[in-house]
């Protein structure tokens, strides 16, 4: 009986007793969730356009952040380092299209998936070679990212919002909205959806697959840079950071691999869910449940909707 009480009654009682703590927890979950969404978005973009599950998305994030910080360390001013990093991500997209995707066109998906492992190991080696393997701290001040916190006296208590988190959420939301409108409304967006649907037909109306792939990988690179900056600012820029990308897996399972809104909603559910779980139910199990709770949430959703919240139901005749 005690256990049932501890699981189903006490946490909710705590939430009601201290609404400011609840708001604080939800806010932190929300910020993490927005960043998960952004990572998941990188996966979704590439998956939609080329049918490739890009294992390298996590390392692209680290590589982008590392390039930015590394260039600054070498004496490049922050704004120039940012512009150069964008250029490097474009070069990376070009190189991946030319050296990986083009030679492997029409190969089974699993081959392309394995090729992204290759990209991962290349980027780890290359990043270490150029910028060294030591963890670095993100150049938040030089990029004019705010620090400090905003104290809100609401709900009979105090809720503290880190200004960096506010900036992260604002930038992530702006990116998500502009990407969504880009893909819904522009010629390239329409072309991208066309490529996702049928390669051959897309070619026949004059869409260049190569060009679309470069655009998509470049976009994913920019998304990786943004996530890299904010995750880097929250901890530090190191290769260990790429495991954060693994958090995008339950987000993708939850949201569906092919859906942009799915990536966003999925990210928020996972972010808020794991923070609430950790804070209110964690002590029951001795804490530390944040690292696996996301997968449990995703599994629970899968039991009900195997295609994810927004995923396409793919029916295959066997």
């Amino acid at each position: 009986m005690d256990l049932v009480r501890a699981v189903f009654v006490d946490p909710f009682a705590q939430m009601i007793a201290a609404p400011d703590l609840l708001a604080q927890t939800i806010w932190e979950g929300f910020v993490a969730g927005v960043l998960y969404s952004l990572i998941a978005l990188g996966f979704v973009l590439i998956y939609k356009a080329s049918g490739v599950f890009n294992f390298a998305q996590g390392i692209m994030m680290v590589f982008a952040a590392l390039t930015l910080v590394g260039l600054h360390e070498k004496g490049v001013p922050a704004w120039a380092a940012l512009a150069l990093t964008v250029a490097v991500m474009y070069g990376l997209a070009l190189a991946i299209e030319r050296l990986v995707l083009r030679p492997l066109v029409n190969q089974p998906d699993i081959i392309l998936f394995m090729a992204t492992f290759g990209v991962t190991y290349f980027l780890i080696g290359f990043g270490e070679l150029v910028f060294g393997g030591n963890p670095k701290s993100m150049i938040t001040k030089e990029l004019y990212l705010p620090d400090g916190a905003l104290d809100l006296h609401i709900l009979g208590g105090r809720v503290e919002l880190q200004k960096l988190d506010i900036a992260a959420a604002a930038i992530a939301l702006t990116m998500v909205v502009s990407l969504a409108s880009f893909f819904q409304r522009t010629r390239i967006g329409r072309a991208l959806r066309a490529v996702a649907d049928d390669h051959q037909a897309a070619l026949s109306v004059g869409i260049s697959l190569n060009q679309i792939w470069v655009i998509v990988w470049f976009t994913a690179g920019i998304v990786a840079l943004a996530t890299g900056i904010f995750w880097g600012a929250r901890s530090e820029v190191s290769f260990a950071l790429q495991v954060v990308a693994l958090k995008a897996l339950p987000v993708l399972i939850l949201g569906g691999l092919t859906s942009v809104p799915g990536a966003i909603v999925g990210g928020l559910i996972i972010g808020v869910g794991e923070k609430l779980g950790e804070f209110y139910w964690g002590p029951l199990l001795g804490g530390g449940i944040e690292s696996w709770l996301a997968y449990v949430i995703a599994l629970a959703f899968l039991l009900v909707r195997p295609q994810g919240l927004f995923g396409e139901r793919i029916i295959e005749r066997v």
């Binding site: 502009s178 409108s181 880009f182 409304r185 522009t186 010629r187 390239i188 329409r190 072309a191 959806r193 066309a194 996702a196 649907d197 049928d198 051959q200 037909a201 897309a202 070619l203 026949s204 109306v205 004059g206 869409i207 260049s208 697959l209 396409e312």
Partner: protein, 259 residues
């Protein structure tokens, strides 16, 4: 020998093989400006491979393609599209998640030139451009009598209508040469009559030269100006419909008389 001006596309001694399998052996024929050219032959004769060569999906090992009088080296499909070659597919290749209107709009991809920033904002010159392309597409939708399904996702449409949408997407490219791969496969008589009418009008009033593959001989004989017949990857006849109909080799190929 110089080709006369009215030859739009010439296929010259083209051979194509996949590994050890010969799909096309030393085939030559031409397509004249403004005509409806049929390519017929039994299953596996190499008809679709031929279309794939013409629009750049395949590159022949031997022979050449002469397009508007110029020899064409390894051309990619999107380059062929840019030069005015549009096509439809045997098994309908539409963008299934998109609406009829969006599918037809993709046919305008190559003609949209405005800055994507303006496109995303739906503002300024891009808006005018979008409206102009939209007008062209609506006119095609009107022409093909598919107004009622403008906003329907094409994956949900019956086969006959999908074929029509696919034709619409090709027409939206304002093609010089329109390649149709079995435009009437799986249709009933009424649908075939509609489709024939659309093809004739596209050819006469929209100025598209048409090359089509079709199995319905009645349709082929009615629509086409000249017919080329393939069998086992070789050309066995090339003439006006009436002559082809009575050609012994053609009859033999269709009835399976020994080689």
């Amino acid at each position: 020998m110089t080709a006369p001006n009215d030859i739009l596309l010439a296929v010259e001694h083209v051979s194509l093989s996949f590994g050890g399998v010969r799909a096309i052996s030393d085939v030559s024929f031409d397509i004249r400006k403004g005509e409806v050219r049929a390519i017929i032959g039994p299953n596996g004769a190499g008809k679709t491979s031929m279309l794939n060569v013409v629009n750049g999906f395949y590159h022949p090992q031997q022979g050449a393609i002469r397009w508007q009088g110029q020899a064409r080296s390894r051309m990619k499909p999107h380059e062929a599209a840019a030069q005015g070659i549009a096509r439809t597919f045997q098994n309908v290749a539409l963008f299934k998640g998109m609406t009829t209107l969006d599918n037809i709009m993709t046919g305008r991809s190559l003609r949209m030139r405005r800055n994507i920033f303006w496109q995303a904002m739906r503002h300024g010159p891009a808006l005018d451009e979008e409206i102009e392309h939209r007008r062209v597409c609506e006119e095609i939708i009107d022409f093909l009598e598919i107004e009622h399904i403008r906003k329907t996702a094409v994956g949900a449409l019956p086969y006959g209508l999908q074929k029509r949408v696919e034709l619409g997407r090709a027409l939206a490219m304002e093609p010089v040469l329109l390649l149709l791969d079995e435009p009437m496969a799986g249709m009933n008589r009424e649908e075939k009559e509609d489709m024939s009418r659309f093809i004739v009008e596209a050819n006469r009033y929209r100025g598209a030269t048409v090359a089509l593959i079709e199995h319905d001989m009645g349709v082929v004989m009615d629509l086409s100006d000249r017919v080329v017949v393939l069998d086992y990857g070789r050309k066995i006849a090339d003439d006006v419909p009436d002559a082809v109909k009575s050609d012994k080799k053609v009859i033999g190929a269709y009835l399976g008389v020994g080689q």
